[in-house]
């Protein structure tokens, strides 16, 4: 009976992939994307995750987990698997799986769909599961500690510096997404501005007035947030209030930079923690709502399976399908950042070893499904509308008429009237060139929600979607700045001891300032970039995130080989090899490509030519050239670190296989579980 069930699931998945692959030129239903994805996930979880658990990792249900052995009622807390699944999913899912697929939709829906689903099954979910397992067997150690202990101290430090650098690029690009969504949008800006006083109120509620009443305060916070969402419309329609909340990109960028610094220096209970609670509930709630919306409406996919932009001429970002589809979509397919979460709070909460496949592998499948939904939300838009929102103004031309003309040149149809009506229906003045993915995702989500729950609320849905994305991106910005500050202090403490004291106030201020200045620089670079910044920064972020995944997979491979499982090392080596090919190619092209849209060096050269010809102001040009060179340095640094990590890991592997290094691992000793099996 079970066998028949699995044959049916496999058939449904295979037929859905067939429909996706064979239909050309006519619209298909989003149902096929959903079915193909879910069918593949189920088969992968049933067979591949089980293979990983029983053969490769040898999960032992009789072995006590750190949560059981070290239980302290604080961070080591045995947690039931359903609850921990929710906790882990809320921790890993963020803006990444929502933005990447929307940007990569410029190639059509098919490349993104294939990479999201097969990338997760063979790469991303394997990475998360193996790292979660390794950390669980090592009392919840972090990725950096495991890199140090299993590979070597130099690799450990290199990994830490890489993590800090990745964090800085990540924060900059996410902040840029928010800036692009909120510029010249009084409704959006008002709602997001309100989250600061709401968070402060919640903070004092939970810490001072009603200590520990987190759910009570969060309920109040959510009610106030919804009120400010509705209030945003009043502000946007008021002639006196709207100008106060209508700001250009640079102003909003500076406000976010100031906010990031203040949030990092203030005590966490005041601002950061309440915002985290608020954004977690909004995030999980909205994702559930989106899933319901897509399943109820099953909207038709209007984007073609493939567009002509696979040749690298796409307006959203430069570069060919290979390798750029595979770095544009990082989260959702494979995300190195998850290795930090999977070696953070989650392994300390696993009640039993047998829960690890569901949490590690299954949690990542869930994130991948979020990416598929984001892809659906982008693909339900008319292609012309999609490109009008996501292409930079410099490419489209300054006016709606010019943009419609440019897009017609690409073979898609959109009329100025259609764009105006769309902007009005979502309560904005313009949607032209709102790059960064968030606005087009919000338009797609608003269409889906309107289809499921009624069209009269379209504007509210749009701003709800914008609010939810901006809220949790800004939460990533403040928690990330704070974590970056601690990493900076730890690294700087090696050079000058007092900087390492996290309780020393000057050290806190200097380290926070340094981290904020780091991402702030790249954020402002993106804001002033004539091509909109996403063009440059998102690929850098993708490269860095995938390289972190490569480091995590190198650690995972080392753990496998050290525990005598060399014959199964291919489970991590295959995705590692693919990521190395993809990221090193992408990094190389970003530095050396002859096309100035793609390569940093040729862009710098083209800029010098324009300055020499008098087409560009010398001071503006000098800044662009400096940024190009800085980006070259960043890309080269990421590539160097990953090559270093992989080479030093490979030396460890070879030595173990030759028998010159003993195949020992740093697993905590076996203790039998007291839970009944």
């Amino acid at each position: 009976m079970q066998t028949i069930g699995w044959i049916l699931v496999s058939l449904v998945g295979a037929v859905s992939w067939g429909v996706l692959a064979l239909h050309r030129g006519e619209t298909i239903s989003a149902a096929w994307l959903v079915l193909a994805a879910v069918g593949t996930y189920l088969v992968a979880y049933r067979f591949y995750a089980r293979f990983l658990a029983t053969r490769v990792l040898e999960i032992d249900p009789t072995r006590a987990t750190p949560a059981e052995r070290l239980s302290n009622g604080r961070d080591f807390v045995p947690t039931s698997r359903g609850v921990l699944f929710g906790h882990h999913f809320a921790a890993i899912a963020g803006a990444g799986p929502l933005v990447g697929p929307v940007l990569a939709a410029q190639f059509g829906y098919l490349p993104g769909m294939i990479w999201i689903v097969f990338g997760v099954v063979l790469g991303g979910a394997v990475q998360d599961f193996v790292i979660l397992f390794a950390s669980m067997r090592r009392d919840g150690k972090s990725l950096g500690q495991m890199a140090k202990e299993e590979i070597g101290p130099v690799t450990g430090v290199a990994a830490m510096i890489a993590i800090l650098a990745i964090m800085i690029i990540l924060l900059a690009v996410l902040a840029l997404v928010v800036v692009n969504a909120l510029r010249d949008s009084p409704w959006g800006l008002f709602t997001i501005a309100c989250t600061v006083p709401i968070a402060l109120l919640m903070g004092f509620w939970m810490k001072v007035w009603r200590p520990g009443r987190t759910l009570e305060a969060t309920t109040v916070g959510i009610v106030l947030l919804m009120a400010s969402l509705v209030g945003g419309r009043v502000v946007a329609e008021s002639a006196t209030l709207a100008p106060y909340f209508t700001m250009n990109a640079a102003t909003i960028a500076w406000l976010i930079i100031a906010y990031g610094f203040v949030a990092s220096v203030l005590p966490v209970w005041m601002l950061l923690c309440p915002r985290d609670y608020l954004s977690t509930f909004m995030k999980v709630g909205t994702i559930v709502l989106l899933a319901i919306g897509i399943l109820v409406v099953l909207p038709p996919i209007k984007l073609p399976a493939l567009t002509q932009f696979i040749d690298g001429t796409g307006p959203v970002f430069a570069g060919k399908l290979f390798p750029f589809a595979f770095i544009t979509i990082a989260c959702g397919a494979i995300s190195g950042f998850h290795a930090l979460v999977a070696s953070g709070t989650t392994p300390k909460m696993l009640r039993r070893e047998g829960d690890a496949p569901l949490i590690g592998y299954g949690g990542m499948l869930m994130e991948s499904f979020v990416a598929v939904m984001a892809l659906c939300a982008a693909a339900v838009l008319d292609p012309g509308v999609y490109f009008a929102i996501n292409a930079p103004l410099a490419t489209l031309g300054g006016s709606l008429d010019a943009a419609a003309e440019t897009i017609r040149g690409w073979g898609f149809v959109v009329t100025p009237g259609q764009m105006e009506a769309l902007a009005t229906s979502v309560g904005e003045t313009t949607l032209l060139a709102r790059t960064g993915g968030a606005p087009s995702l919000a338009v797609g989500m608003a269409q889906i929600f309107a289809g499921a729950f009624g069209t009269h609320l379209t504007a509210l849905w749009y701003h709800f979607a914008i609010m939810f994305e901006a809220l949790f991106i800004l939460t990533t910005v403040d928690t990330g700045t704070r974590v970056g500050r601690f990493m900076f202090q730890e690294l700087a403490g090696h050079l000058w001891e007092p900087m390492g004291r996290t309780s020393w106030y000057p050290s806190t201020v200097i380290a926070s300032g340094a981290v904020v200045a780091g991402w702030g620089w790249f954020l402002l670079q993106g804001v002033h970039d004539p091509l909109g910044g996403i063009n440059t920064l998102w690929p850098l972020f993708g490269i860095s995130n995938q390289l972190l995944a490569a480091i995590a997979l190198a650690v995972g491979t080392t753990v496998l080989i050290r525990s005598g499982k060399a014959r199964y090392a291919w489970v991590t080596l295959l995705p590692l090899a693919w990521l190395l090919v993809v990221t090193l190619t992408a990094g190389w092209q970003k530095i050396f490509a002859a096309d100035p849209r793609l390569g940093f060096l040729s862009h710098a050269a083209a800029t010098s030519t324009r300055i020499a010809g008098g087409a560009l102001d010398a001071s503006v040009g000098a800044r662009l050239i400096f940024n190009d060179r800085l980006n070259v340095g960043v890309a080269a640094f990421f590539m160097a670190v990953v090559v270093l990590v992989v080479i030093s890991s490979a030396r460890v592997w070879v030595n173990i296989l030759r028998g010159t290094t003993p195949a020992t691992t740093r697993e905590a000793p076996y203790v039998a579980t007291s839970y009944a099996n």
Partner: protein, 69 residues
Amino acid sequence: MWRPAMRIELTAALRRGLQAVRRVAGMPDYAAYVEHRSRHHPGDPVATEREFYAEHVTARYTDSPTRCC
């Protein structure tokens, strides 16, 4: 038809539900902490809810990233 036993069951179910919501969101769980102390360290001093909250929140945002991209 209302019996006191039903009320106790409902309250317990509600408490479990709220505890699950708290843990999903990464909120501190004071009741679980108190239970842990009384079971494993009976007689030792127990942090007040105010102290426990402050400590939990500081520890949570200090260590490693709690939120991904």
